[in-house]
């Protein structure tokens, strides 16, 4: 048996405890009925049964979460790695990435921990209960089995309708939450336009609508749990009535077995256990839906892009009718050529796909059409619009560009991008500690850090993404001068819509 079912097996230990408990109370009641005395062994059996059950439930949880986390972590690691660091034909948006890497593995963990052990228990435990009951009373076991068949039919009928209804409801709830969150985030602008009262009415109306619709959906959705509840109660009632009439000798048909009170009471005490695993399963049904949806979404994660083989030495780059087609947008086509040195500017309004085209030049996203000279990854430096900062010193962060850079080289890179005044103003040096939020670096300073990292990396081709966006004219001029200097002995491709940078570039490629 595969490992993930060990927690399911522990549910069977729980059932063994239930059987001990049932035997204990059956013996106790029989003792009271025959001799008026309750045997100490019976009480001990009851308490041991309870102890076994308590330990088993703890064990189920312990095993379930360990297995579930092993499965979820195995799904999570490759997803994280791919989303942050592998070329993909079409990388998902930031929000979608966070859902894929964090929320979906969490949903899979919940599914594995809460649903899977119960699923195993729900298929194995009823057989166990029937087998144990059969030792006491074959007919009672037969009654349990007989309720099971209409139960399955009822679940198929009610369950299908209920599943559809609850999925619809999940979707609608999600929409309402979405509207609510969106309007809460937009409160500033809503108040600014004096639309408070109008938007409040809209939110209220949507919430009331949904509440009304959901109630009618729930009428159907709760039917499947009613079916479960009904058969669970019916099993107890039928076993009780059969056993009672059998003990009275009043059965309207010939009795195939001779029941004692002990056997009858044992069968009665086991009857609720027959449907208990299925009730647990039903309670975790929501986790199953979410977990399966999450698993499907992770299965559909695009494969990493296979890079075209590139020359080891960088000799220049050329694009020929390069075009990227994504659903709803088209980038390019563009053509250009750049040698070992010099700078070209990719221009176009925000959202026209400059960053995506830069990524295509770096071989990180796929072209739909046309060609771009493949460049070996270790020949490319990337100066990001919002560079990565890992918790650690400023020097460590720059050295992400080149692991073996010396302190002098790092200091020189910092000097070149004009970060020295900032360090001086803070009375700090290369050992300035940054947290992941950048420890109060402004957007412009962070941008310069990315540029310093690119310079330090000393790669032949530098790709710079909007190096001057949101900077004032003076800062933008400094950065532009730096790019011009860099382009004297390196190749530079800069994505920008800043006229100063465009003018500084030897060539403009418009998107």
């Amino acid at each position: 048996m595969r490992k993930k079912n060990t927690a399911g097996f522990a549910w069977l230990i729980d059932l063994a405890g239930a059987a001990l408990f049932a035997a204990g109370i059956a013996i106790a009641v029989t003792g009271a009925a025959t001799s008026g005395l309750i045997e100490a062994e019976a009480v001990a059996l009851i308490l041991v049964g309870g102890l076994v059950r308590a330990v088993a439930v703890g064990l189920v949880h312990r095993l379930a979460i360990t297995g579930a986390q092993r499965i979820a972590a195995a799904r999570r690691l490759p997803v994280i790695r791919r989303l942050i660091g592998e070329p993909m034909a079409e990388p998902p948006s930031l929000g979608a990435s966070a859902v894929l890497a964090i929320d979906h593995p969490q949903a899979i963990e919940n599914y594995q921990a809460r649903f899977m052990p119960s699923r195993f228990a729900a298929s194995a435990a009823p057989l166990f209960v029937i087998a144990v009951t059969a030792f006491a009373s074959l007919v009672a076991a037969g009654i349990l089995l007989a309720t099971f068949i209409p139960f399955i039919l009822g679940m198929i009928l009610a369950g299908t309708a209920a599943r559809r209804a609850s999925e619809e409801q999940l979707g609608a709830m999600g929409q309402l939450s979405g509207l609510f969150v969106d309007r809460v985030r937009g409160l500033g602008i809503i108040r600014h336009f004096r639309a408070e009262e109008r938007v409040t009415r809209q939110v209220r109306g949507a919430a009331n609508d949904l509440a009304d619709r959901t109630v009618s959906v729930l009428r159907i959705a709760f039917l499947s749990s009613a079916v479960l509840e009904f058969f669970s109660a019916l099993a107890v009632a039928l076993v009780a009535v059969y056993c009672g009439f059998s003990l009275l000798g009043l059965l309207p048909f010939p009795n195939p077995e001779v029941l004692t009170l002990r056997e009858a009471f044992f069968a009665l005490a086991m009857a609720p256990e027959f449907y208990l695993p299925m009730r647990r399963l039903a309670a975790a049904y929501h986790e199953k839906q979410l977990g399966e949806a999450a698993s499907d979404a992770l299965d559909q994660l695009p494969e990493p892009l296979v890079r075209a083989p590139a020359e080891a030495a960088f000799t220049g780059i050329a694009a020929n009718g390069a075009r990227i087609d994504w659903p709803g947008r088209s980038i390019g086509p563009v053509s250009f050529a750049l040698g070992r040195t010099g700078m070209i500017a990719l221009t176009g309004p925000t959202g026209s796909g400059k960053t995506s085209l830069l990524a295509a030049i770096a071989g990180q996203v796929a072209l739909t059409d046309g060609t771009i000279t493949p460049v070996a990854p270790d020949n490319i430096a990337w100066a990001a619009q919002r560079p990565l900062i890992l918790p650690g010193s400023l020097a460590d962060n720059l050295a992400l560009g080149r692991i073996n850079a010396t302190q002098d080289e790092i200091a020189e890179a910092i000097e070149r991008v004009g970060l020295s005044p900032m360090l001086a103003a803070r009375g700090a040096g290369l050992d300035l500690i940054l947290d992941h939020r950048g420890s109060g670096l402004s957007g412009g300073e962070r941008r310069r850090l990315g540029l310093a990292r690119a310079i330090l990396a000393g790669r032949s081709l530098t790709l710079a993404d909007e190096p001057t966006a949101d900077l004032d004219a003076d800062s933008a001029r400094d950065i532009t001068a730096l790019l011009i200097a860099l382009a004297r002995d390196h190749a530079v491709v800069v994505a920008t819509h800043d006229p100063i940078v465009i003018e500084a570039a030897g060539e403009e490629v418009a998107l």
Binding site: R53, A56, G58, Q69, I102, F180, A195, P272, P377
Partner: protein
């Protein structure tokens, strides 16, 4: 405070439904206890009668108990269904009322002092907190009903002997406290740790995903992934501890049921059939108390959420219907510079020097840090209503709402016609783009702008500000992301519109073209 929050949420129409749900829950609890107890009694009594011979069997009334057992099975099913449906209906209507009321309270605040919920984390947490409250309302009828069912079980146990009943009563009375203590001990810390660790992981991951191209270029994916995996491992450890804690509480409850059964047996003094009755009543009474275990386990995470919600619902005020008429233009002073209505001013300065802050202060979004006066009154003393009557903002980040293009334009003021929308879009150079969309003005934008590019979003927000019909226009980088030709066209059209309407402008831009709209430039460094 939390109790008050829930009480407020379930007033009015909800309270009636909740009362009905309680009666169903009570019926379900009692029939559950009675089904097992009566079955146990029936079996034992039948066995004794069967052993007593034909006369004893003939004297035994089997019809009523056997019919009652079957009837109880049906009653239990029906009442459980009713309880679930009604408690959910109560929660849904309560939450609908309550969401609306909460939103109204938030909307009625002054942006300058209101709690900031604009961040993704804050608003996502708000949704989580509200769902937790909804869950509490769903389970609200269950707790008193399970107490009542437990009491009923104690009553049945009296038939097994008063000592047995007393023992059961004591055990049941101690159970809620025991469960609460156990849940606090086993789940409180891991729950807090899990929430904290998850927040850290999320923030670190989003940073890393945003830096994808850089990570790939420098080949540092393993290092960054390792760091994220370490953070994720911390989340896993906390979640595992929490889950094991839930297991301990569940185990405690199940073990407690058998202790109750044993106690009833030890203290019972009645005939066997009545002992069987009390025995099974005791067992099912502990099961009925499971609702307390669930509540106790969620207590830790729910409490924090409710405390956050209570802070928000404690806010005063209700949104009032806004008047649509255009207000008379008031003169402005920025630092020492006086500005008369209709003037066009550019604020200049290096990035990070606070230009956006100044614009947002005028818009009433944030408290001012610069010396600003409206009609000779310091801005901080002007009410939000006065400010929003004077200024219409096109902010740096566009700030669009999910909905259609028309929805976003209509936000500006009530009663805007489609022709007015098209005219405003024309000035913003977005009319042909919108006309080319299959759904035109009704095109849905989706989350944060969706199908529109950054530059297009910006222009839609400009059109919205034009439609607001205020004496002053506040423009923060209005042409960011535009190509030179579109930018020139937009500046021309905007200039004509300003001339025609006599609207004043306070403008911030790094680009030359829009700066040409301004007659005067005020360096931000000169404002104290």
């Amino acid at each position: 405070m939390n109790r008050e929050l829930i009480d407020n949420a379930v007033r009015g129409r909800t309270a009636t439904v909740l009362r009905q749900a309680f009666w169903y829950a009570l019926l379900a609890g009692i029939s559950s206890v009675l089904l097992l107890a009566l079955s146990g009694w029936f079996l034992t009594a039948a066995a004794i009668a069967g052993a007593g011979g034909v006369a004893a069997v003939a004297a035994f009334n089997y019809l009523i108990p056997s019919a009652a057992i079957r009837g109880l099975a049906i009653v239990r099913t029906g009442s459980r269904y009713g309880e679930r449906l009604l408690s959910h209906r109560a929660a849904l209507t309560a939450m609908a009322d309550w969401r609306g009321a909460l939103f109204g309270k938030l909307a009625a605040q002054d942006s300058r002092t209101a709690p900031d919920l604009s961040g993704g984390d804050a608003s996502a947490r708000l949704i989580g907190d509200i769902e937790a409250l909804e869950d509490l309302i769903v389970r609200r009828p269950t707790r008193p009903a399970s107490l009542a069912a437990a009491l009923f079980a104690v009553g049945l146990t009296i038939l097994s002997g008063w000592m047995a009943a007393l023992a059961l009563a004591l055990l049941l009375a101690a159970l809620p406290f025991l469960l609460k203590h156990a849940a606090t001990r086993w789940t409180r810390e891991p729950a807090a740790e899990a929430a904290d660790a998850l927040g850290e992981l999320r923030a670190a991951f989003v940073d890393a995903a945003a830096a994808r191209p850089e990570i790939i270029s420098y080949g540092i994916a393993d290092r960054v992934a390792q760091r994220l995996e370490d953070l994720a491992a911390r989340v896993d450890r906390a979640n595992a501890a929490l889950f094991r804690g839930e297991g301990h509480v569940a185990g405690l409850l199940i073990g407690y049921g058998t202790v109750a059964a044993a106690a009833v047996l030890l203290f019972a003094q009645s005939p066997a059939a009545l002992i069987a009755l009390g025995l099974l009543a005791a067992t099912s009474s502990v099961e009925a108390m499971a609702a307390f275990a669930r509540t106790a386990m969620r207590q830790a995470s729910v409490e924090q959420g409710l405390a956050r919600l209570a802070l928000l619902t404690g806010l005063e005020g209700e949104p009032v219907r806004a008047e649509a008429k255009r207000e008379a233009a008031l003169p402005l002073a920025i630092g020492a510079t006086r500005i008369v209505p209709g003037e066009r001013i550019a604020i200049t300065g290096a990035s990070g020097s606070g230009k956006t802050r100044l614009i947002e202060a005028l818009a009433g979004l944030r408290a001012p840090v610069h010396t600003l006066r409206l009609n000779d009154t310091p801005l901080a003393e002007c009410s939000q209503t006065v400010l929003t009557g004077q200024f219409a903002l096109s902010p740096q980040d566009a700030a669009l709402l999910a909905g259609s293009i028309a929805d976003n334009l209509r936000l500006a003021r009530p009663g805007i016609s489609e022709d007015q929308m098209r005219a405003a879009l024309h000035i913003a150079c977005l009319d042909t783009r919108v006309a080319a969309m299959p759904d035109g003005l009704d095109t849905l934008l989706g989350e944060s702008g969706g199908i529109l590019s950054g530059g297009e979003r910006k222009r839609l927000s400009l059109a919205r500000a034009l439609l607001a019909d205020r004496p002053w226009l506040l423009l923060d980088e209005p042409t960011e992301g535009l190509d030179a030709a579109t930018e020139a066209l937009l500046v021309t059209r905007l200039g004509e519109w300003l001339d025609a309407t006599g609207t004043g402008v306070i403008l911030v831009s790094h680009r030359q073209a829009p700066l040409a709209l301004a007659a005067r430039h005020i360096p931000i460094d000169g404002i104290d």
